[in-house]
Amino acid sequence: MLREAFAKNPKLAGTLVPLTAAIIAFQAINDRDDMRRQPAIEPKSVKTAATASFGGAGLPFEYSLAALSGFRQVIAGLLWVRSDAFFHSGNYDAILPMIRLITWLDPNWLDVYATGAWHLMYNFTDTDQRSDRRYLPVGLALLDEGIANNSKVFDVYKEKGWNMFDKVRDYNGAVKAYQGALANDPDAEINQVSHPLAHSFERAGMVDESIAAWDDAVKRHEAWMKRPGITDEVKMRNSMGVKNATKNRSIMQIRKALRPTNIAALGVVDTDFHVTVTRTKSKVIKVEGSWNLIGSIKDTFDAGIFEADGNTIKTLGKGLTLDGPVNGCRVDVRLQDDGYKMPEFGSFSFEVDPKITLMQDIVTTSGGRQVDAGGAYVATPRAGNAEAVAESAKVYNLAPKDQAVANGVPVAQALTGAVPISARGQWQLVTMAYPKAFNAYPRYYTQAEIPAMFAKLRGDAKTVAEKLTKRNVHIARKGLYAPGSFRREIDMSKDPKMYGFKNDSFELILSVNPRTAPDFVQDRIGWNGEGWNDRKYLDDKTVPGLRMIRVRVPLTKDDILGSGEKVLFKG
């Protein structure tokens, strides 16, 4: 029939030749990989989805067919809606395969990588809300895949940077991720990338690089503000960014200048770290100990005077003016298979090795207290944090047991001469009775001012009653020092899926990393632990240049699984 038609209409049939040539030409152009695989249209991972969705990942056939017939985003959207429902019902296990499929179907959906990594790295927890850290390399592999599929936008780099910083606490890794964002995306949001980059440098102990990063952030914000056609909102965000970055740069410069001199002047702290590890019952261990956690007492760090803009340093302060026991430094407790190292996964998979046992917890140090003979303390029925005004005068709360040791008298009695009040005690009373305004400089009374102020206090019965007696301030006859302590019972018996204890040998590692310590502790001991020492547990070899406190306790399977109470380590 066609032959007859062609013969009858040779002119019309002839048009088919150029048309066919055009079709083949268009198809051939389109077949070139650089055209066909333009990232937004057909990323390479879609091919992986084509293979896996029919075979391995469990996407029903009709979904696969629909997905491959031009409705990829629709299926991805539907799966995302479904995974949200699973999230709200707490069924995190069900979300993982969906994330796998969605990122195959739509490899450019940035939110899915971010949310998926968050699920993996934060939401899988045991009964006591400890993260299942076996998922960390899996989450990182997902983010790496997201970066590979979206290498020109900053979003997934930023997510990886944050997870490295906050969850993995690999600050060098965080630096690398944030640098990747800046190098690949000229439109990277400065507040979300440059600022955390500077913080990451600081945590990695790279102080000069951190200052340089703040400097760079200021320049980038300023360049953004000069871009034509930016909205007021973007302008305001960058203007705030300039302010914050300048201030942070100044703070880093101050600390860089003052911390070494403070440590040299105050000497090295002997942390005297002690820990006892006890198995209380099968799969339950108790970790308790004490150590000298010394830091800058609340609000007593003298940064100096800033210019009116609050950023530029006008006068460099003295730095740490008062140190003593503080609360808040974390002791990391990690129980793992002996010699476990976090693996690097080439590609994201939602399976974790069930044989691995890995538990990590954080125990906070608190309760350190000190009072000198003739110094002030607050007598309280129960130990606890002192009020801010007392804390900033290095006045601690003492519970009845400590009060018996200090053997003090109420402040009103002491002021009549019942107990001698030391020079430090006088300073403490004056500071509590006549607190300086929050913006005064210097923030604290100098020793030269104290005699006159103390004389004034002696004659000011009303202030003594209202500011001191009412607070139950006492003056100690004897000095007292108690180090900070930590204690945590870690129950791994309720989550056998997470803690399988399949290996024969394990290690319990307790560590304090100065780089993760709060600023007020670093002000005393430095970014890298230069200002502390420990006779038994100082570790300056695991990470060169970093002086950690690290205790490694080897444990056998029986140590953990055995029944009955047993002290596993004391030292």
């Binding site: 029939m1 066609l2 007859e4 038609a5 062609f6 009858k8 209409n9 019309l12 049939a13 048009t15 088919l16 048309l19 066919t20 055009a22 079709i23 083949i24 268009f26 198809q27 152009i29 389109n30 077949d31 650089d34 055209m35 066909r36 333009q38 990232p39 937004a40 249209i41 057909e42 091919k47 084509a50 067919l65 491959l68 017939s69 031009g70 409705f71 990829r72 985003q73 629709v74 991805a76 959207g77 539907l78 995302w80 809606v81 949200d84 709200h88 739509d106 450019n108 959906w109 940035l110 939110d111 979206n150 020109k152 936008v153 979003d155 909102e233």
Partner: protein, 262 residues
């Protein structure tokens, strides 16, 4: 050509009277409106979902409207014998066929245009107050690609309708639509195949079956951070491909229909 246009106009008015097509249009519009139910997500995710679902729904509704409309245009006239009346007048066969085709395109244009408009308005409303919102007008690029895909599909269905029954046509067109969407996979399979005959069969399939996968342009519209290397080239090439292929199919259809006994 005037004759073809008269037939096209009649085809459009006849098609728009068909309840089934209007039902698809209504379903499409309602589904687009329903995408507003995703209130539990962050605004950016919500917009991604709304845009993705909206374009998907237009595409899906467009697919059914195109296939159901085009497989029946010629056979219905033959079945009802109205074609005799038409061809008895000074109407050439190719004019009749082109008239039907242009009528189908007009109907599709109206349907996709209305759904597209509803969709763009819906996204614009959704975006009110959103941070860093991208102009909803760029979504028309995606709608243009859907329209081009349907133009090609309509030509394919029209071609088949000149010599097969509507039922066979339905399956043929749908199967080729799916295979055409997998065009890049057939090429990958051909490239990786070690068996020569399989390689050439796959290459043949890749070059002969219309490449419907080319018209998938949803992703760059969903993820404004991700852009194609050369958008103008990409869109122009796809439009030219659709027009060239559809023309070739219509030439073939005319040639076949010319010799067909009705």
């Amino acid at each position: 050509m005037n004759t073809a246009m008269v037939i096209a106009r009649n085809t459009i008015s006849e098609a728009l009277r068909k309840k089934i097509l209007n039902a698809f249009l209504m379903v499409g519009v309602v589904l687009i409106a329903l995408t507003f139910i995703f209130q539990q997500f962050a605004p950016r995710q919500e917009l991604t979902l709304v845009k993705g679902m909206g374009l998907g729904i237009i595409s899906l509704a467009g697919l059914f409207i195109t296939v159901i409309l085009c497989i029946n245009l010629v056979p219905t006239e033959v079945e009802r014998r109205t074609i005799y009346t038409i061809l008895a007048k000074p109407v050439r066969r190719y004019e009749f066929l082109l008239g039907k085709f242009f009528g189908a395109l007009g109907t599709l244009g109206i349907n996709i245009g209305l759904m597209g408009l509803a969709f763009v308005v819906a996204v614009a409303v959704k975006q009110i107050g959103a941070e860093n919102a991208v102009s909803p007008l760029i979504l028309f690029k995606g709608i243009l690609m859907i329209a081009m895909q349907m133009l090609l599909l309509a030509a394919l269905a029209m071609f088949f309708s000149t010599f097969v029954t509507p039922l066979v046509n339905f399956f043929l067109t749908m199967v080729l639509f799916v295979i055409g969407n997998l065009s890049s996979y057939t090429l990958d399979l051909a490239k990786n195949s070690q068996v020569a005959i399989v390689k050439y069969v796959l290459l043949g399939v890749h070059y002969v079956v219309p490449n419907f996968g080319n018209f998938q342009y949803t992703n760059p519209l969903l993820q404004p951070d991700v852009v194609v290397k050369n958008e103008t080239l990409f869109l122009t090439q796809n439009c030219a491909y659709a027009v060239a292929y559809a023309t070739a199919l219509m030439v073939l259809a005319i040639l076949v229909f010319d010799r067909r006994e009705v």
